[in-house]
């Protein structure tokens, strides 16, 4: 008997939500027709800035799912100053991320010491074939266009890296 006010209140909540949905509209959006903008720092897809990558393998080694595949070879580049010794650089042959395995932890982005990996908020890249979820170097490079400007640092935060 003592539970009856609570039971009636519960019925009131559901009825109130129903009236609110009918009169003011639902909390949800009808996805393919209208889209919500992802929040800042949304983890949609990882983009590769190929020029910054030194194929150091840190990302591949830190990946918990082993979903990053890197192959590279060493090349000689012209010296920085005239008369110097030719430089040895790592040339990136293959950089694949298998999004069928990726768990979006973002450790690779964190661990990259050369700012070659970025989060992009794009999320519409599902494929009918699972093999197509393996994004290669050029496709990861295309995602770079969708990477937003880095959001403002919080007050008091210190900017790392080059001044």
């Amino acid at each position: 008997m003592a539970k009856i006010p609570g039971l009636l209140k519960g019925l009131g909540v559901t009825l109130g939500t129903m009236v609110e949905t009918v009169t003011k509209g639902a909390n949800t959006v009808q996805y393919p027709h209208e889209k919500e903008t992802p929040p800042i720092r949304a983890r949609g897809v990882i983009a590769l800035h190929e020029g910054n990558c030194t194929s150091c393998m840190l990302c591949a080694r830190s990946c918990p799912d082993w979903c990053i595949y890197i192959e590279g070879h060493k090349e000689l580049a012209p010296p920085r100053r005239a008369g110097g010794k030719p430089r040895q650089v790592n040339k990136l042959d293959r950089f694949d991320i298998d999004y069928a395995l990726c768990m979006y932890c973002g450790i690779c982005v964190e661990v990259c010491p050369f700012d070659a990996l970025f989060w992009s908020p794009e999320y519409e890249y599902s494929e009918p074939r699972i093999a197509d979820l393996l994004h290669d170097k050029s496709k990861l490079g295309e995602w770079m266009e969708t990477v937003p400007e880095a959001p403002e640092l919080e007050a008091g935060a210190e900017k790392k890296g080059k001044k």
């Binding site: 519960g10 559901t14 939500t17 129903m18 949905t21 009918v22 639902a26 949800t28 009808q30």
Partner: protein
């Protein structure tokens, strides 16, 4: 109307009755699923529900039925195959048997059965049998547990339902559902006949007990221990797929509709309007158009009652098994027994 029907050959009458029965079962079931299960539940959860198939998703049910019909007719290797296959049909057949006794108008009935209430309550428990054999023959421990829970629950809530309805039967003085409708609409409240005398006013307690028992009989949510998807997968329906699952699904919502129809007959005056409005005195003096309007009135009342059932379903969490049994045996049955006593005393007194 009746004369027209009687002039038809027997096979045509049977065909008409069959079509009428199928309409009376499938039309409410489809409407209930779309209006309440798809739309009302979504609105109560602040979402829109299906919107793509047809205007406002109204063709969604056809898409779902089409999907189920395409599926393979699977059965477990160790299932008792014959029993496994007929179980959903047993459940659905109890719905069809139940609708046979519901009057939809002064002449629009399938059978005008003297012991209608008795028949309806007896036939509604056939579905327990279907559920029990479905759970047993699946050769699956979840199904078996679900089937046993269902049997325990349905038998426990059958009793308060039967005992509660006795109150209405005593007041109406008849077990014939048609007579109960007439008694309500021809009745008067202390001489004022503007509203008839719907038994929801005099037997409100019975109405509450009946609706709670219906909720449990349909295994709708506060009483969905037999299905309990978080612990029993889907209870006795776990092993069913394709059109056999579809039959269970139709059976669940068609039975909700038919029970609501019976509740509207018992408590809300059924197909009738208060006879005083049009100067009718008994069932023979009613105008013929009531045979068309009556089913619509019934349908409206059914929708209101199913709204109550579904509203409760979407609002409350599940009862535990012991709470559920205690509620039936220690609260509902004593209350309905007391109501029988009170109604009998008042019936003799007035």
């Amino acid at each position: 109307m009746l004369a027209l029907l009687a002039s038809l050959p027997y096979w045509a009458q049977t065909l008409l009755r069959l079509l009428g029965g199928i309409t009376a079962v499938l039309l409410p079931a489809g409407t209930i699923v779309y209006v309440f299960l798809f739309k009302m539940m979504s609105f109560m959860q602040s979402r829109l529900g299906p919107m793509e198939a047809g205007p406002f998703g109204s063709m969604q049910l056809f898409a779902e039925v089409g999907k189920w019909l395409q599926k393979e007719d699977l059965y477990p290797e160790r299932a008792d195959r014959f029993i496994f296959k007929i179980a959903p049909l047993v459940v659905l057949s109890s719905t069809f048997l139940l609708v046979a006794v519901v009057p939809f108008g002064p002449d629009a009935w399938f059978t005008n059965f003297e012991a209608g209430v008795f028949y309806a309550l007896a036939v509604s428990s056939v579905s327990v049998l279907g559920i029990l054999i479905a759970g047993w023959s699946s050769a699956n421990k979840y199904s078996l547990l679900g089937g046993l829970r269902a049997a325990g629950q349905l038998i426990a809530y059958e009793l308060p339902m039967v005992l509660a309805v006795i109150g209405v039967v005593i007041q109406a003085g008849s077990m014939n559902l048609q007579q109960i409708v007439v008694a309500q609409n021809a009745g008067s409240i202390f001489g004022w006949d503007g509203l008839g005398n719907p038994y929801i006013l005099t037997q409100f307690l019975v109405f509450l007990i009946f609706m709670i028992a219906v909720q449990a009989e349909l295994t709708q949510t506060p009483f969905d221990m037999p299905i309990a998807e978080s612990e029993l997968v889907s209870g006795y329906m776990t092993e069913y797929s394709g059109f056999r699952f579809l039959i269970f699904f139709i059976g669940e919502f068609a039975t909700a509709g038919v029970f609501a129809l019976i509740a509207s007959v018992l408590f809300l005056g059924g197909w009738g309007v208060p006879f005083a409005w049009f100067g009718w005195t008994d069932v023979n003096s009613i105008d013929n158009w009531m045979n068309i309007v009556g089913p619509l009135i019934m349908f409206t009342k059914m929708m209101v009652l199913v709204f109550l059932i579904m509203w409760v379903r979407f609002s409350y969490p599940r009862f535990r098994e012991d709470q559920l049994q205690r509620f039936a045996w220690k609260v509902l049955i004593p209350l309905s027994l007391g109501n029988i006593l009170l109604t009998s005393v008042l019936k003799v007194a007035f």
